[in-house]
Each structure stands twice: as structure tokens, then as C-alpha cells.
């Protein structure tokens, strides 16, 4: 028995040295560091990374949402419109409306935003939500140390698979996985040299709607109302070439969706701007729904201009 435990101990020592050597060689060969990886707050790397970006940033204007809010909003237009640099884009890939509601509540506990911008399209009203450890998120936003957060959900696979990805995402702005934020946290996509894959260019799978997401949007609306947060909801457009291929049922769904949101937000005097009734040239897009930086500027300017007109009226 003693020999057994002794051998186990010696092997464990050997294995730890082996593992350590492999880890050191890996980080040297690829010139990467564990510090590049955010702790695993959720099952979305983009979400985790954005939370790290947002730490210790208190902003009056926040933008929340999926990649629609991350890529399709043009930060300089927002700061210029509000005449304030206190802007933070807290968006990350694939957030549905429910995710947005919970993140808004978590962030608002630490900061007192006066304006919330949500850029969305139909695809965000799906039922695929992120798995987020909200307690850990609260702790992080409270300023608890990041090392502890790393230990709470320590999964080697997460670090192993993301260590190289992180570097690539942070340096490129011409890939979908880009996390090269501007100073406010938005990610403008540059179409120059952007290799658009045909599946994404023609993809029309944005019509699987989960009705509970409307309930969550209503909750967001009520929360903003009660917390004195001005809510601006922008409906992001489809590429015109794609829009033209939508069938009658899809167009009806889109119209119904716009009307529903307009009614819901209008009832509380919150802004809802849809861009579905405008012509959006294909050259402004990197795929069916993601705008390039030129398109993002045009879209943001268009929405803010409409807000200005509405406010004047």
C-alpha cells in the first residue's frame, strides 16, 4: 500500500513537470500568455472578453446587444450626437433579448447609465440564451479580483482552445470573430479584403422567433422607465439583395415585429427606429445582416437623425 502511494506521488510529480513543460513550450512557441484570456463567466468568449473590457468603466450611455449592436453601431457618431465620450458598447456575439435584460440589470447595479441603445434584428429574438454565472459577473463588476474568477470555472479546454484564438481576434478587423474594439468597445468590420462566405451572405435563417423574448423586451422597457434610463431601440436592416428574396410570410413577420415593438416601446415614449423601410445597398454589408464600417456609420447616423427629428417634434 505504501509503495502504491509512493509511486502515485512520484508519477504525479513527473506528470506535473511534464504538463508544466508542455505549457511553457506552447506559450513560447505561439508567443501567447494566459493573461490574454478572460475568466470564464459565460459560455461565450466574446461575452467574457467584453466584461473584462468593461471593468471599471462607468458610462452614461451604454449600448447592449448581440453582434448587431457590436458591429453595426458606429461609436464616433454616437459620441458626437450625445456630445459625450461617456459611451460604452457592452455588446457581444449572440446575446438574445433575455441576455440583454439580465446584463442590463447586472451592469446598472454598479453604474447609473442615462441612455441605453439596443441595436437588434429578428435573429436576436431566438430562444438560445447564454449560460452566464451572474454571481461571478456581479463579483467582477464589484471589483473582486480576476484571479479568483479564473479559478471559479477553471476549465483547461477553455484556455487551450482560446489562447491562440484570442490573439487572432484582437488583431484582425476583417474576420467575423474580430474583437478588435475601438476605444468604446464597438467592433467596426472592414470589408476591404473581407472574405465573405456565401453561406452567411445568403443566409436567411433569422425568422425563428421565441415569443418570450418580447416579454423580456417589455421587461427591459419597464426597467428603463422605472430607472429613468432613456431607451433607444434600433432595428438593424437586411442587405437589400437578401431583403428582396424574402417571401411574403417572412415580410409579414418582419412587419408584425416592427409594429409590435413600435407599440410596446411607444406606449412608454421610448424610441423605436426601424430601418427595414429603407434601401440598404449590398456594398454596405459583410454578409446578410452585418454592416461594414461604412454601413455602420450610415445606419447609426440614420437612426440618430430620426431620433433628433422625433425629439424636435
Amino acid at each position: 500500500m505504501n509503495i502504491f502511494f509512493k509511486k502515485i506521488f512520484l508519477f504525479a510529480l513527473f506528470a506535473v513537470c511534464f504538463l508544466f513543460t508542455i505549457a511553457v513550450v506552447y506559450t513560447k512557441v505561439y508567443n501567447v500568455s494566459l493573461r490574454d484570456i478572460p475568466p470564464q463567466i459565460s459560455d461565450s468568449y466574446s461575452y467574457n472578453d467584453k466584461i473584462m473590457f468593461a471593468l471599471n468603466k462607468q458610462s452614461e450611455i451604454i449600448c447592449l446587444g448581440s453582434s448587431m449592436s457590436l458591429n453595426n453601431i458606429y461609436s464616433p457618431s454616437v459620441t458626437e450626437y450625445f456630445n459625450s465620450n461617456s459611451f460604452l458598447n457592452l455588446s457581444s456575439w449572440g446575446l438574445n433579448i433575455k441576455d440583454i435584460y439580465f446584463l442590463l440589470k447586472a451592469y446598472s447595479k454598479k453604474s447609473r447609465p442615462s441612455t441605453l441603445v439596443i441595436v437588434s434584428n429578428l435573429g436576436d429574438f431566438n430562444d438560445v440564451e447564454k449560460k452566464v454565472d451572474y454571481d461571478l459577473l456581479d463579483d467582477l463588476l464589484d471589483g473582486k479580483n480576476i484571479e479568483t474568477a479564473h479559478l471559479v470555472h477553471f476549465k483547461p479546454k477553455y484556455y487551450f482552445t482560446n489562447i491562440r484564438f484570442s490573439k487572432k481576434a484582437k488583431s484582425a478587423n476583417n474576420i467575423y470573430q474580430s474583437l478588435r474594439y475601438d476605444q468604446y468597445g464597438s467592433v467596426p468590420l472592414f470589408s476591404d479584403g473581407f472574405q465573405v462566405d456565401s453561406a452567411r451572405w445568403y443566409k436567411r435563417d433569422y425568422f425563428r422567433i421565441d415569443s418570450t423574448q418580447y416579454v423580456y423586451l417589455d421587461s427591459i422597457s419597464r426597467y428603463c422607465n422605472s430607472s429613468d434610463i432613456k431607451l433607444l431601440f434600433f432595428q438593424s436592416p437586411f442587405r437589400q439583395g437578401l431583403y428582396n428574396t424574402l417571401d411574403t410570410a417572412q415580410l409579414q413577420t418582419l412587419r408584425w415585429h416592427d409594429e409590435e415593438l413600435s407599440k410596446m416601446l411607444g406606449a412608454r415614449k421610448q424610441h423605436f427606429i426601424t430601418s427595414n423601410n429603407q434601401y440598404w445597398n449590398d456594398s454596405l454589408f459583410v454578409d446578410g445582416i452585418h454592416l461594414n464600417s461604412v454601413g455602420a456609420k450610415m445606419f447609426t447616423d440614420y437612426c440618430l437623425q430620426r431620433i433628433r427629428v422625433t425629439d424636435i417634434n
Partner: protein
């Protein structure tokens, strides 16, 4: 808090049991058995404490009917106790596992003739491991009835036999003749057996965490998405599922066997490199051996086996494979899977070639002959084809996938190419399995290397890869059966 073998919770639990088992009470068999029983009940309660009562009821039922059968003075009384146990055991299994399936199938069937019966289904939760421990109990009762064994007098020993935690939720399905004597005997710590158990656990974890869970990401994406893909994508998903289910289930069995060996108990072998089989009959001698042999001994042979006329042989083969399919779950996909395997098996039986590949392939050579390779690949293709039914959500999806595979899109580039890292690891895994095909598990072969540095480096590589791939703890597929 579910206690998965691939979780840190289980590691902590097992280390505590191991130390207690071999240190303060190592010389007291009764105390060791009580510890195993408490640990097993705790392990099961972690899954769902409500069903612990069902487990205890099932154990008590078989224990007492076993004793009553033995003490019965007349054959009639023996028979009555025997059927009492069989009916209640199968009744519980039927209610928990098959009630809704049969009710829904009945409603579907009568609706075809225009009737619309108002029959309600129940919201029945499947107790984990029920198929396994019911079969444990049944084999014990049948063996006593057939006077192969005598009943156990000690309730604790019998309880440990049925509920021994390494095999409780997903087997291997043990026999009283094999496991009970080990539970009744004094166990002495054996260094070599313990070390081999550790190696088998490491190999099982590697198979589960690296290969099965790695394949699961791709397979789930394709089978669960609801989108349609090209034939090539489906074919890749089917092949990866073949590796997933093998590595998932045999990985579980390896861990179970390894854990039991650390406690001084040998469990039945469940897998013997089935994907190197040269025909379907050989495959079924090497795949889920404890279940196949259970059905052979307690269903196929009592039905007459391969004796009698051709019609009877065909009937028996279909019965055993369809029941085997149904054992996996209440779904027509499993029935199709079973029936398809029966169709594969029948020609071999009728041509009396079902035992033509008894030995291990390429026994005295390093590589298989061309004919052997072709046979292995054909058997693998047939098995993989059958797995499509096993994995599909419903029969409709299975036929859609098969139609896509047999369409022109089979020769197109897959929409979602699989990860090259995973492909390389699977290739490495196949080589390791091939080299170790004569052993209980391939690491026995590695253990033969005289240089400790080589051995430890190899184990460390497996450990490192397993740790690197360790992500979310994925449940083992066979827990749902």
C-alpha cells in the same frame, strides 16, 4: 449534484472511499461491505435521492423472492415466487421506461382506423440505471430458479452485488456467479491490480473526455440543429458518432472496471475492440458483452437459440435484437436499429458462418491482410449505418439522413468540416487500440515497456491531452438507458 465519473466530485468521493476501505477497515470484510453499500447508496442518491427507494425496493424484492424460492417445498410455490419477482421487476421497468411509448404507439395505431381514444400519458421520469439494476436482479432470480446458484443469506452482500457504485448506473451487467463470490471473499490489496486499475481509468477518461466529448460537439451540431446538410456532412457525423458512442460507453466501462479493481474486485469485461471485427457476429461478441451475453443466456437460449427450423431461428434472432433495441429506450429508432442488426446477422447464422471469426484479427501479424482490412471496414460501415437510427431523434430524421447520404451530395464538400486536431487524435487512438488489441486495455501493452521513463511519458501525454480537452462535464450516453 450528479456524480459523473469524469467530475472532480467523483474523484473526491472515490479517494475518501478508497482510503477508508484500505486503511482502517482493511481486515474486516463486513465493514468493507457496509462501506461499499453506504458509498453506493450515497452515489445513487446524488443522482436522484427519490429513486433510492425504488432501488432498495428492487433489491429487497429479489433478495426475499430468492430466499423464498429456495425454501419453497413445491415446484408450484417456487414458480409462483419466481414469476412474482419477474413480473414486478419488468412491471417497474415497463412503467418507468415504456409506459408512455406504448400508450402513444397504441393511440397512433388506433387513430389509423379512425378512432380517437382519450388516453392520458404520465409525466414519468426515468430512474437512472433502472435497466441495469433490474437486469442484475433478474439474472440472480433466474439463476436461483434454474438452480444454478443458491440464494445469498446476507442482505448486505446481496445489496452490494446489485448496487456496487462503479456499475450501478451503466453496467457492466454483472452475474451473481461472477461478482457475488468476490463480495463474499476477503479482499487483499494487490499493488499490480491497483496500478492496472489506475491505467484503465486513465485510458477510459481519455476516451470519454478527448474523443467522445470531442466528437459529440460535431455530432450534436448536425443531429440536433434541425437544419439539413449534405450527404458528406451526415456521413462524417455518423462516423464520428460511431467513435463517440464507442469511446463514451467503453470509456465509462473502463473507468468502472478500473475503479472496481482499485477496490479489489474484477468486473466483467464489456468491450473487446469491437471496431476491429470482421463480421457482425464478431462485432456482437465484442460490443457491450455483458448485455449481449445476458440476452443470449436468459432470452435467446431459452427461446431455442439456433436450434430448430429456419423459421424459428429467424424469429429468435429478430426477437433478441429487437428486445435489445427496446432495452436501450422506448423509441422506434431503437427498434429499427435492432431489426437492422438482426438483418445483418441472419445471413451469417443461416450460412453457419457466425462463428468463423472467433480469434483476434491478425493474431500473429502486425498488420491485417487486405481481406481482413476489407472485412473490418465493411463491418464498420454497416455498424455506422445502423448507428444513424440509434442517434436520430425519430425515424423521419433517420431516413432523411440516409437519403442525403445516398444522394449526389455525398461527394460534395461538407458544409462543416470536422476539426483536424480531432481527426488526428482519432487516427492516433485507432493505432493505440490496434497495438493493444490482445489486451484487456491498450495501456497493458505500454506497461510492458521496461523503461519507466517511456511508460510515464506516455501516461503523461494521455493525461495532458485529457486535461487540455477537459471542458464541460458531459453526461455518459448510456446513463439514459
Amino acid at each position: 449534484m450528479r456524480m459523473l465519473f469524469n467530475s472532480l466530485t467523483f474523484v473526491v468521493f472515490f479517494v475518501a472511499v478508497f482510503i477508508l476501505y484500505w486503511s482502517p477497515i482493511k481486515n474486516n470484510l463486513k465493514h468493507q461491505n457496509i462501506l461499499l453499500l453506504i458509498a453506493s447508496y450515497y452515489f445513487y442518491a446524488c443522482w436522484d435521492y427519490r429513486f433510492l427507494f425504488l432501488l432498495v425496493f428492487s433489491i429487497s424484492l429479489d433478495y426475499f423472492t430468492g430466499l423464498r424460492m429456495h425454501e419453497a417445498r413445491s415446484n408450484r410455490a417456487r414458480k409462483a415466487w419466481f414469476w412474482c419477482s419477474v413480473v414486478i421487476n419488468l412491471g417497474l421497468l415497463g412503467v418507468f421506461k415504456y409506459y408512455n411509448f406504448f400508450i402513444e404507439s397504441f393511440v397512433d395505431a388506433v387513430s389509423l382506423i379512425g378512432m380517437n381514444p382519450n388516453v392520458s400519458t404520465l409525466n414519468v421520469i426515468l430512474p437512472v440505471g433502472i435497466s441495469f439494476y433490474t437486469f442484475h436482479g433478474l439474472s440472480y432470480v433466474i439463476d436461483i430458479y434454474n438452480k444454478r446458484i443458491e440464494p445469498v443469506k446476507n442482505f448486505i452482500e446481496y445489496s452490494v452485488f446489485v448496487s456496487f457504485f462503479p456499475l450501478l448506473v451503466a453496467g457492466p451487467i454483472e452475474r451473481a456467479t461472477h461478482l457475488l463470490p468476490q463480495i463474499q471473499q476477503k479482499r487483499v490489496f494487490n499493488y499490480h491490480r491497483a496500478v492496472d486499475g489506475l491505467k484503465q481509468i486513465l485510458y477510459g477518461l481519455f476516451k470519454k473526455v478527448v474523443i467522445a466529448d470531442g466528437c459529440a460537439e460535431y455530432v450534436n451540431m448536425i443531429f440536433n440543429s434541425g437544419d439539413t446538410y449534405s450527404g458528406s456532412t451526415y456521413a462524417i457525423a455518423a462516423v464520428l458518432f460511431a467513435f463517440q458512442i464507442y469511446c463514451d460507453f467503453s470509456g465509462y466501462s473502463d473507468i468502472a472496471l478500473g475503479v472496481a479493481r482499485l477496490l479489489g474486485i474484477d468486473l466483467l469485461r464489456n468491450f473487446a475492440y469491437p471496431y476491429f471485427s470482421r463480421d457482425i457476429a464478431e462485432f456482437w461478441r465484442r460490443w457491450h458483452i455483458s448485455l449481449s451475453s445476458w440476452f443470449r443466456d436468459y432470452l435467446y437460449i431459452p427461446l431455442g437459440g439456433n436450434k430448430g427450423n429456419t423459421g424459428r431461428k429467424i424469429r429468435n434472432i429478430f426477437i433478441i435484437f429487437i428486445v435489445s433495441g427496446l432495452w436501450h429506450g422506448a423509441n422506434t429508432t431503437f427498434i429499427f436499429w435492432g431489426a437492422l442488426n438482426a438483418i445483418y446477422f441472419l445471413p451469417l447464422l443461416l450460412l453457419k458462418r457466425n462463428r468463423s471469426n472467433i480469434d483476434t484479427v491478425a493474431g500473429d501479424r502486425n498488420l491485417p491482410s487486405f481481406k481482413e482490412l476489407l472485412s473490418i471496414l465493411t463491418t464498420f460501415a454497416l455498424t455506422t449505418f445502423a448507428w444513424i437510427f440509434f442517434r436520430s431523434e425519430n425515424i423521419g430524421q433517420a431516413f432523411e439522413i440516409i437519403a442525403a447520404i445516398f444522394s449526389k451530395s455525398f461527394i460534395s464538400a461538407p458544409e462543416i468540416p470536422p476539426s483536424l486536431t480531432l481527426a488526428a487524435i482519432i487516427a492516433g487512438f485507432v493505432i493505440i487500440e490496434w497495438l493493444g488489441r490482445f489486451e484487456l486495455h491498450p495501456l497493458v501493452k505500454v506497461g510492458m515497456s521496461r523503461t519507466r521513463f517511456v511508460r510515464w511519458t506516455f501516461y503523461s501525454i494521455l493525461l495532458t491531452v485529457t486535461i487540455f480537452f477537459y471542458g464541460n462535464e458531459q453526461q455518459f450516453i448510456y446513463f439514459q438507458f
